[in-house]
């Protein structure tokens, strides 16, 4: 039976995409275009934050890092080969990545080999093959990956902030887990997690390129199993409203200190509000701390900020936070300026014109993200994961103004919810 295909259109940019539910339960989004390459991303809503869940009336707690381990291992095929090689035979470029709430498998291919590549993608994701030996071998590789991230000051300062802001939430842990936690992972555990989280109803398939919906459905009919979808329930721990710790300092071999400031936003239940709030606070973060702000220009000119600064509002299904991060030889002077800037915005409001100027940046970034099939597919996925319609973004953005953003900031901002993490050079 052919599924009902819905068309979504944006009159401003001319972009469009199609959506439907495959008979197996997989949600499918297709963004047709005329680029020379096509891209598909197949995502399971199983990420680093899903280590505790209820399944079949029982509660399970799996080792940290299992979603990421599964990502590595799924590429192995039944005949001890690997999917990389199969993609490679077609000249397709494949990859995978795990976040706190999802794991994605992707390829980019020529338009000619798209459907063959799609078949490989769907096939290996739904046909796990794990042995004791191959799991052991992969453990060594992942241990090196964990050590690599442990040496990354950017990664460390980010997770230090997460560990300050959150007491129980899984975002405080690296998605890769630890050397200790991955030592507990076995083929049986991997098969079990695959069974729970890789059922078709927990998957979304996104494609962008010279792609035809009917041909995609034909490939899916052939490869995606129509199995009884498993029912599981994520268990997200209770989380206090305030930051768990207000600050942290770590010493590493770095040339100058790195800082990461954050405010935890506990008000995340209203999904419709979250969409508007996330756009408003992202624009506000850029306006207050971005490269055109008096905060940035003043500190840069005084030599108190080095290079770029990152500021924004980020959210997932169980957490949200506002953050500002960068490098400074005087991180605590920067900290004082961050609080002063936020408090001034809360008490005096912000300049309407500067806010409207910052909105132009977000509109431009939206258009930039439509520059090739891979970028389009990733953008579509990102909007889908936060429950948004990509094509409604320009309208949503244009309807958000400074007073609303300031009211969101006022609601969120409390000193007790904030924290400041610093990575300093070794003494």
């Amino acid at each position: 039976m052919k599924p009902e295909i819905k068309e979504h259109k944006d009159v401003v940019t001319g972009e469009r995409y199609l959506s439907f539910k495959h008979k197996s339960g997989v949600t499918v989004l297709i963004c047709p275009n005329t680029y020379s390459t096509s891209c598909a991303v197949y995502t399971s809503r199983c990420g680093g934050g899903d280590s505790k869940f209820e399944f079949g009336g029982k509660i399970y707690e799996t080792p940290l890092g299992i979603a990421h381990f599964l990502e590595h291992k799924l590429f192995e095929t039944e005949d001890s080969g690997d999917a990389f090689r199969l993609f490679s035979q077609l000249g397709a470029d494949s990859n995978a990545f795990t976040s706190h709430q999802a794991t994605s498998y992707t390829f980019t291919s020529s338009n000619d080999t798209f459907y063959e590549s799609l078949k490989i993608l769907l096939d290996f994701v739904h046909k796990p093959h794990f042995t004791v030996e191959s799991v052991e071998k992969e453990r060594g590789i992942i241990e090196e990956e964990i050590k690599m991230y442990a040496d990354s000051p950017d990664n460390r300062v980010y997770y230090e902030l997460m560990r300050c802001l959150y007491k129980n939430n899984g975002v405080r842990y690296d998605v890769g887990g630890t050397v200790q936690s991955i030592s507990e992972i076995t083929p049986e555990l991997l098969y079990f997690c695959h069974k729970v989280f890789y059922c078709p109803s927990n998957m979304v398939l996104i494609a962008a390129g010279n792609v035809d919906a009917d041909k995609m459905i034909a490939v899916m009919d052939e490869v995606v199993p129509c199995i009884k979808n498993s029912r599981f329930k994520r268990i997200r721990p209770d989380e206090p409203e305030d930051a768990y710790r207000r600050g942290s300092k770590l010493y590493m071999d770095v040339s100058e200190p790195l800082f990461c400031f954050g405010i935890k936003d506990p008000d995340i239940k209203d999904t419709r509000l979250m969409r508007r709030k996330s756009v408003a606070l992202s624009v506000l973060a850029n306006m207050l701390f971005g490269e055109s702000s008096s905060f940035y220009c003043d500190l840069y000119e005084k030599g108190l900020l080095s290079g770029d600064i990152d500021a924004g509002y980020f959210y997932g299904d169980d957490h949200a936070y506002f953050s500002v991060s960068g490098e400074s030889r005087k991180p605590y002077a920067v900290k004082k300026r961050i609080y002063e800037t936020l408090e001034k915005a809360v008490s005096d409001g912000v300049d309407y014109e500067s806010f409207e100027l910052a909105k132009k940046i977000f509109y431009a970034n939206y258009v930039y993200s439509m520059q090739n099939s891979q970028a389009v597919a990733y953008t579509l996925l990102s909007f889908y994961q936060s429950g948004d319609d990509m094509l409604k973004y320009p309208k949503l953005l244009s309807g958000i103004h400074a007073p609303f953003a300031v009211s969101c900031l006022k609601e969120m901002y409390k000193k007790e919810r904030s924290a400041y993490a610093v990575v300093s050079p070794l003494k």
Partner: protein, 428 residues
């Protein structure tokens, strides 16, 4: 895609690339400057000082707000290097005018900013403002020292310096911290004036259509720039490696060692007719997920998470690097050398076909992307002009055989092993 190459005047060229599907316009102006330690820091400082402000936009905030108003136009001032030559490059990229929601002339505004920051700096008594220079010196020191935070990049830099020891013409892209303090406003202004007077200039435009404005822009630039000798990139001579491999190590507060196997490598940089065989060799050695290094050093032996390589053809060097556990160092080094040797002995038809297909697909993606298109042609511009298109290069890959890959690999001989060795960090 349409490509036009125009000689504006002696030593100044314009390349105009248009493709209807592009949503972004990119314009860059690159100056082929001199070499050595002073040129390196002056090039890096100049890109910082010029993009801080100018007569028309007298502060960083005014300049940045102007760019925001042009729909987040990106001004990138980059100190790059071709061979030993340092190349200050000024690039502005923005949305195409058709995406403007309020009739802002994005393209015109961007070209205006680019012209202003290059030709109308806010000089004080004929020299760059010392206050701005001092501030940019601090930024440059931070940028150079900050490379340490990326462990593999830092190890590669240290390995390159060890490989290039004794070569006075070589300086890292951003220069060395110890050379920064000696740059005065007079020295930097002298470097700037010399750049405008003598450097070979490459202007590159990538956009959805050619409305004639880039030609007007080039003519405006040309009015400010006299004729000059067309520049040539100065490159390193190939050095036959000795039989003994030199070993260098350095301690760092990290938990994972970084191993670099530095090779002397005759990539014949100036000869772009050989670039296809080199590119296929890189794909087979390290770039593809089925490359010899990935499949063997990582996948089969589990010795690392990453094992990759950085060819520096102008310097006649190739550095293979991996993040490893100390106990696996010897094995990893041996395996890396073994994989390189295997390629030198010949690769299979399957290796060639697989990697060729991957490269050809990647070239299709280059043609889809304005920034990758700009980078592809800009890389070639100073090497005797643009002699082939992406599509012609792609067609050349079809003719390659195992012996071509063997030839490209044959001169890569390990001559130095650099190891960045870990200690421990501490928590408070």
């Amino acid at each position: 895609m349409d490509i036009k190459r125009i000689n504006i005047k002696e030593g100044i060229n314009l390349t105009v690339i248009t493709d209807k599907k592009f949503k972004t316009d990119i314009t860059s102006v690159a100056f082929l400057c001199g070499y050595g330690a002073e040129a390196a820091v002056c090039s890096a400082l100049l890109t910082g000082v010029l993009s801080r402000c100018c007569i028309k936009y007298p502060s960083l905030m005014e300049l940045n707000r102007t760019l925001d108003g042009l729909y987040d136009a990106q001004l990138v001032s980059d100190a790059s290097r071709r061979g030993f030559n340092h190349v200050p490059t000024f690039t502005v990229s923005s949305l195409n005018n058709r995406y403007s929601l309020d009739k802002t002339d994005i393209r015109g505004g961007c070209l205006d900013v680019l012209y202003s920051i290059i030709f109308e700096p806010g000089l004080k008594n004929g020299y760059f403002d010392n206050k701005i220079l001092q501030s940019e010196k601090l930024q440059l020191k931070d940028a150079i020292n900050g490379i340490r935070n990326s462990r593999s990049s830092y190890a590669i830099r240290r390995c390159t310096e060890a490989l290039m020891a004794g070569q006075p013409l070589y300086a890292p892209r951003l220069g060395r911290p110890e050379d920064i303090d000696g740059v005065t406003p007079a020295v930097l202004t002298g470097f700037y004036r010399d750049m405008l007077k003598n450097s070979s200039v490459e202007i590159l435009s990538v956009s959805s259509d050619d409305d004639g404005r880039i030609t007007e822009f080039a003519a405006r630039l040309s009015d400010m720039l006299g004729e000059r000798k067309p520049g040539t990139v100065l490159t390193q001579e190939y050095k036959m490696p000795g039989k003994r491999i030199k070993r260098v190590s350095e301690q760092a507060g990290i938990s994972q060692d970084v191993l670099c196997v530095g090779c002397e490598y005759d990539g014949s940089s100036e000869d772009y007719s050989r670039s296809a065989e080199r590119t296929l060799f890189y794909e087979i050695l390290f770039q593809n997920p089925t490359s010899y290094l990935f499949e063997n050093v990582r996948e089969k032996l589990s010795l690392c998470y990453y094992c990759s390589a950085l060819p520096m053809i102008d310097l006649k060097k190739l550095i293979i690097y991996a993040g490893i556990d100390r106990k696996n160092a010897k094995r990893a080094e041996e395996e890396i050398k073994k994989q390189l040797d295997l390629i030198k002995r010949g690769v299979s038809e399957d290796d060639i076909n697989r990697c060729r297909l991957a490269l050809k697909n990647d070239l299709l993606a280059v043609a889809d992307s304005p920034s990758r298109t700009a980078a592809w042609y800009a890389r070639r511009a100073f090497y005797g002009g643009i002699t082939e298109t992406v599509q012609e290069f792609s067609a050349k890959l079809d003719t390659l055989k195992s012996e071509d890959v063997q030839r490209a690999a044959s001169s890569a001989v390990p001559s130095l092993v650099f190891t960045m060795k870990g200690g421990a960090d501490s928590e408070a």
